[in-house]
C-alpha cells in the first residue's frame, strides 16, 4: 500500500506542479462578459429564436410592434453577451 501511495503522490505532485513551470500570468478582473469565440455555440440558438419570433408573428401570437421590439432586444442582448473583448487568461 505504501508503494501505491508514494507512486500516486509523486505523479499527482508532478501534475500539479506543471502549471508553475510555465511562468505566471494574470487573469483580468472583468466579470459578466465573455469572448465572442467562447459564445459561438449559442449562435444557432440565437438564430432559431429569432426565426421562432417570425413563426409566432405568423401564428398571431405576437403583434408586429412586439415582434420588431423583441428582435431588436434579442439582437442587442446577444451582442452584449458575445461582445465585450477578452476576459482571457493569457
Amino acid at each position: 500500500m505504501i508503494t501505491w501511495i508514494v507512486l500516486f503522490v509523486v505523479l499527482a505532485a508532478v501534475a500539479l506542479a506543471m502549471p508553475f513551470l510555465g511562468g505566471r500570468a494574470r487573469t483580468s478582473s472583468r466579470t459578466g462578459k465573455e469572448t465572442a469565440a467562447g459564445d459561438q455555440e449559442s449562435e444557432p440558438d440565437a438564430v432559431s429564436s429569432i426565426q421562432q419570433l417570425d413563426l409566432d408573428l405568423a401564428a398571431g401570437k405576437l403583434s408586429a410592434e412586439d415582434h420588431r421590439g423583441l428582435i431588436a432586444e434579442w439582437t442587442e442582448r446577444r451582442g452584449r453577451i458575445t461582445g465585450g473583448g477578452n476576459d482571457g487568461v493569457s
Binding site: F20, T27, G32, E34, E43, P44, V47, K61, R77, V89
Partner: protein, 658 residues
Amino acid sequence: MTAMGSSALLVAFPVAVYGAAVSAAGGIRKRNDLVRSAEAAVYVNFLLLTAGSLALLSAFLVRDFSVKYVYEYSSLSLSTAYSMTAFWAGQEGSLLLWMWLLSLFSALTVYRNRNRNRHLMPWVNHVLMVNGVFFLVILNFVTNPFTVLPGPPPADGYGLNPLLQNPWMIWHPPALFIGYVGLTVPFAFALATLLAGGDSDLWIRRTRLWTVISWFFLGVGILLGAEWAYVELGWGGFWAWDPVENASLMPWLTATAFLHSAMIQERRGMMRRWNLSLVVVTYLLVLFGTFITRSGIISSVHAFGKSNLGAFFLCFMFVTLGFSSTLLLRNWNTLQPERPLESTLSRESGFLYNNLVLTALAVAVLWGTVLPVMTELVTGNKVAVGRAFYDRVSVPIGILLLALMGLCPLLGWKRTSLSGLKRNLRTPLLAGTLAGLFLWAEGVRHGGALFAMALSAVVVTVILQEFSRGVAARGRAFGEGRGISLVRLVLTNRRRYGGYIIHAGIALMIVGMSGAPMTREVSATLRPNDSMKVGDFTLQYRHLRWIPSTDQLAVTARLTVSKRGRPVGSLVPERRFYSGREDQPTNEVSILSTWKEDLYVILTGYYKDGRASFRVLVNPLIAWLWAGGAVVTSGTLLAIWPGRRKDRSIGQADGGPL
C-alpha cells in the same frame, strides 16, 4: 488491487483539498498558474477515482471476499453482470460511484471551459472540489469500500439482495446518480457567478446542456425505478409515494421549473434571483434525498440500511444552505431584473405560473416526506401521511400543470391578445372535448381521470398545431414540401421542437397515470383447472411447477387467459427463493400488456395439494406511461443534439416576418 484502490482514494483526498484551496486562491489573487494547477488537480482526481473504481470492480469480478463490501453484496453463484452491478448495491460502492461521476463531470467541465469563462472557472472549480472533499472524507474515513475483513477471507459471500437482481436495477441507480451528480455543475456555476459578482447571465447559457442532461437522467432514473417497482416488488403499482421515491422526485420538479425559468433569464434578463435560488434549492434537495436514503431516519424499501452518514449529510446541507444564502443576499441588488413583467398573459408569465405550480408540488411532497420526522421531533410520535394526502395534493396541481402545458406554447413573448389566444385554442379544445366524449363512450367514468386524459389530448393537439403551423409557414416561405419542411423546421430549432416532443411525452405519461384510479383487483385461491374472472378476462389455473437452478428455486404457476371467450395467452407468475436468502422470497409477477390495459398476476401462495393463491389486477393504460417515457427520451435527445454552428434562419435573411 485493493491496496491500489484504497491508496488512490486516500491520495485523492489531499489532492481535492489542494484543488479547492488553490482554485480559490487563484480566483482571489487572479493568478493563472494557481488556477491551472487547481484544474490539474481535477484531472488527477479523476484518474485516481477511476483507479479506485476499477480496483473495486475488479474485486467484485474475482470475488475477493476479503473485502468486506464484496463479501456483503456478492457471492460465487451471482452472475457476472450482477456482480458488476453489485458495485453500487450498497452504501460504500454507491458513494464511490457518486464520487467517480463527480470527478468525471468536474474534469469534463474544466476541459470544456479550458479557453472560456475564465473569470468563472476558479470558482466553479472551487465549488466542485469542495463537494469532492466532502465525499472523499466520507469514503476515506467513514464508510470505506476497501475495508478488509479480519482473518482469512470467507469461502463465499452473503450475496446480492434478490430484489436487486433485476435488469431494471442495473440501470436505475446509475441513471439517478448521473442526474444527481450532474446537477452539481449548474450549482457550481451559479455559486461561481455569485462569487464573481453576480452580474452575468452567462452561467444560464453555460449550464443549459448540463441541466437538461441531468434532468433527463434523473427522470429516466425515476421511471426505471417505477418500472422496477412495478415488475419486481409485486404490489401492483409503480409509485407508492415512498420517501425515497419522493426524494428523487423533488429535485426533478425544481430542475424542471429551472429549465423553464432559465429561458426567461436567457431571453429577457428576468428572474435572475429566482433562477439562482432554484438551482441552489435543487442541489439542496439532491443532498436532502441522499440524506433520506442513507441516514436510515425514514424506513423505505429503496433506502440503504441505518448508518451514521445522516449527520454528515445534514451538516453539509446546512453549510451549503448557509453559504449559498449568504452569497445570494450579498449579491441581491446586482441581481435586479432587466425589465418587469409586462403582461399577465405572456410566455414569461406562463413560465412563471409553471414555476410556481412545480415549486408548490415540490413543497407539498417535501412536507409529506418530512412530516414523520418533524412530528417525531416535536411530539415524540411519528405521524405519516399516506397515498390519500399525496393524491389529494398532486392531482389538482398536476391538472393545473397540464393545463399550463397546453396554454404556454400558445403564448407569445411580452404580451398575447386574448382574442388571438382564443382563436389558437379553438382546435385543441375541440379535440379535448371529442377525446372526452370518446372515453366516456368507452366506459371511462372516473371524473378526474377523464378530465386529465381530455386535457392531455388538448396538450398533444396544441403541439401538433405548432408543428403544423411551422411547416405551413416554411412551405409558404420556401415552397418546400411538407416532409422536407418538417425536417428542416425541427432541425433548425431542435431546442424548441425537442421541448414540444417532451411535453407530448409527459402528456402520454399522464394518460398512463390516469388509469390508476380505474384499477380492478380480485384475489382468489384456485385448484388446478379452476377459473376466476377479472373484468373481461377469465383466468384458468393449470398447474404448479418447482424449478431448481444453481442459485435459486422457482415456484411457478401457469394460467391460461381468455378475454370475452377468446384465448389471449398464458401467464406464469413465480416466487423465487435465492440460496442463502430463502427467508426473502421474491415475487416475479407475470404481465399481459396491451395499449388498453395490463393484466397483472401475482402468485401470493401455494399449497401441497396443488392449490395456489393469486392476486390479479387489471391496470388500465400503463403502457402509455412507458411509451410516454420513450417519447420524452426522443425529445430530449433532439433538444440536446449538437447543431451546426452556421444554421440559417428563415427569418434571418431579411429579418422580416413570414
